[in-house]
Amino acid sequence: MTESELDQCYTELCQALSRQDTQGRQNTELGLARFALLAMLEINEPAKVRSLIHRAILDPSFTLPSGP
């Protein structure tokens, strides 16, 4: 994936989730959860999936932003 392809995918995800957002925040969450499950199947490597879970959520350096 090139930088511009990454940028395009990122924007598409944001736009898709924004559309969900208009129907309620829970739909945004559900969209992300569905995306995570499909990504798990595509990655198809337990070690890689666990590593991503750790880096995305469990890493101690991860803190919630204080602003809105």
Binding site: E29, L30, A33, R34, A36, L37, L38, L41
Partner: protein, 492 residues
């Protein structure tokens, strides 16, 4: 509102009687499925056994409803399986729906080598009554009704208890006591022992109804159905026109109001309409359930041994409760009989019972908690991911295993593995390993593969005539396999 009907079973009432034997080899506290299975298994091995049951009949209401193949194999060895097959409705799989779509159609392992179905549905009152009638035929088995037991003390030689009956109190002693007195075991509490683990917050309403329907027997699960949005509903067909319905309460529902008939019956009506069931129906039973996943650390405490719910409490999802208790009873009865037959030896077989069945409980807990996490999500995150799985499963077959209810199966012990049923011709007759085990009960079964018999009870199989058995057991060189009387193959 609909009038309540009655179960198609009237339990016989039994009264306390004067007792003579104030010392017995084995005293069983609790006359439920686990206590009665233990009693039957011990009596079949020539052990005098007394069962003290606080109530005056077998149980009432909606309790255990599914008996696994493993339990049926145990009942076959105890000579009662035919009654279970006569009363029970066999089934091999089930379906799960998300909203209006089928998202899983599962099948439990079943092939032409199996003699027994993977599961039957039969109500606990029938389970207890079948076992009770068999116990009453055993001269060595005495059932004492209306007999409430309080733990007293134990020495190196015996256990002493106090028994309270309508006819008065008396002291009873026994070489060994088996506590099968349920989740609120008074024996366990009197001994200061505890169950450890997790209690879940999610609540389920349990409803039994009478409904005549020719729908197939299978486990039905409805997630977020249109009749009960946001909830999960389980449906099981039982014998004699009884249906068991379990549905999840929402977190914001008042449980006191939710369990009332006026709240429950419209939901049942709406579910039946959704299922296309048009016949008239009657409610029989309503109760509420909260899942627990708890176990004692050890089941053997000197001359007191714990089994069933007294030793461990498992969530209902996956039907491990009564089935694991029946497995406890089978394992324990063989080891206890051995201990009684060798009084000069130590209590090592009972310690092994504890090791094996605690390991089984831990595995059962692990599986049952996974089922419960899906059926009654313990947090927003679990609920969110469950919805994600359900909403994708129709188009993503690889996600469907996450919906599978993980129905109970025989558990591997640290040093023993459950035998695999096999059908073959032996001495001119079609037979099964399970049948040969039952014929030999309580003896072990030795199988010699391309070897002469090593023991008088051994069966001898040769590759030419029994290629399928060799293949099913992955045997390529002459060898002897021992199947323990409880159906386990020991290994190092």
């Amino acid at each position: 509102m609909k009038a309540f009907g009655a179960y198609p079973f009237t339990p016989t009432k039994y009264q306390a009687k004067p007792v003579s034997a104030k010392h017995v080899p084995v005293l069983i506290v609790g006359g439920g499925p686990v206590g009665l299975t233990s009693a039957l298994a011990l009596a079949k091995q020539g052990i005098k056994v007394v069962v003290c049951e606080a109530d005056d009949s077998v149980c009432a209401g909606s309790r255990a409803i599914c008996i696994s193949r493993r339990s049926l194999e145990i009942f076959q060895r105890l000579g009662v399986v035919d009654k279970f097959l006569q009363f029970g409705l066999p089934w091999t799989g089930g379906r799960s729906y998300y909203q209006e779509h089928e998202v899983l159609h599962f099948h439990m392992p079943h092939d032409q080598h199996e003699q027994l179905p993977p599961m039957i549905n039969v109500a606990q009152y029938h389970i207890e009554d079948i076992l009770l009638q068999a116990c009453l035929q055993e001269p060595l088995c005495e059932i004492r009704w209306q007999s409430k037991v309080s733990y007293g003390a134990q020495t190196e030689q015996q256990v002493a208890v106090q028994v309270e009956t309508p006819l008065g109190e008396y002291q009873q002693t026994a070489d060994f006591l088996i506590a099968c007195d349920g989740g609120r075991s008074s024996i366990r509490e009197s001994m200061g022992l505890k169950l450890l683990g997790t209690s879940y917050e999610g609540r389920y309403i349990i409803v039994d109804i009478l409904l005549q329907s020719d729908r197939a027997t299978e486990r039905l699960a409805y997630f977020d159905p249109r009749c009960n949005r946001g909830s999960t509903v389980l449906v099981h067909k039982q014998p004699h026109g009884v249906w068991r319905i379990d549905y999840q309460l929402q977190a914001d529902e008042d449980p006191v109001e939710a369990v009332k008939a006026e709240a429950v019956l419209p939901r049942v009506q709406s579910l039946l309409e959704m299922m296309g069931e048009k016949a008239d129906w009657q409610p029989i039973w309503i109760s509420m359930y909260k899942a627990n996943a708890l176990s004692m650390e050890r089941y053997h405490h000197g001359r007191v041994v714990f089994a069933g719910d007294a030793a461990h409490l498992l969530p209902i999802f996956g039907v491990r409760g009564a089935n694991s208790g029946i497995d406890d009873a089978d394992n324990l009865a063989l080891k206890l009989a051995h201990t009684l037959a060798h009084p000069k030896q130590d209590l090592e077989p009972l310690a092994l019972y504890s090791i094996e069945r605690v390991a089984a409980a831990q595995e059962n807990l692990r599986q049952a908690m996974k089922s419960t996490d899906f059926m009654a999500p313990p947090s927003h995150a679990f609920a969110l991911l469950r919805t994600a799985v359900l909403s994708l499963a129709q188009t993503e077959p690889r996600l469907r295993s996450l919906i599978n209810p993980r129905q109970t199966t025989a558990i591997h012990y640290p040093k023993a593995t459950p035998y695999r049923e096999t059908c073959f011709y032996y001495q001119g007759q079609k037979t099964y390993l399970g049948k040969l085990l039952a014929e030999r009960y309580p003896r072990d079964l030795g199988i010699c593969f391309d070897l002469p018999a090593q023991h008088v009870d051994d069966i001898v199989l040769n590759h030419e005539q029994h290629a399928e058995v060799f293949s099913r057991y992955h045997i390529s060189t002459p060898t002897r396999i021992l199947i323990r009387a409880d159906g386990y193959i020991p290994h190092d």
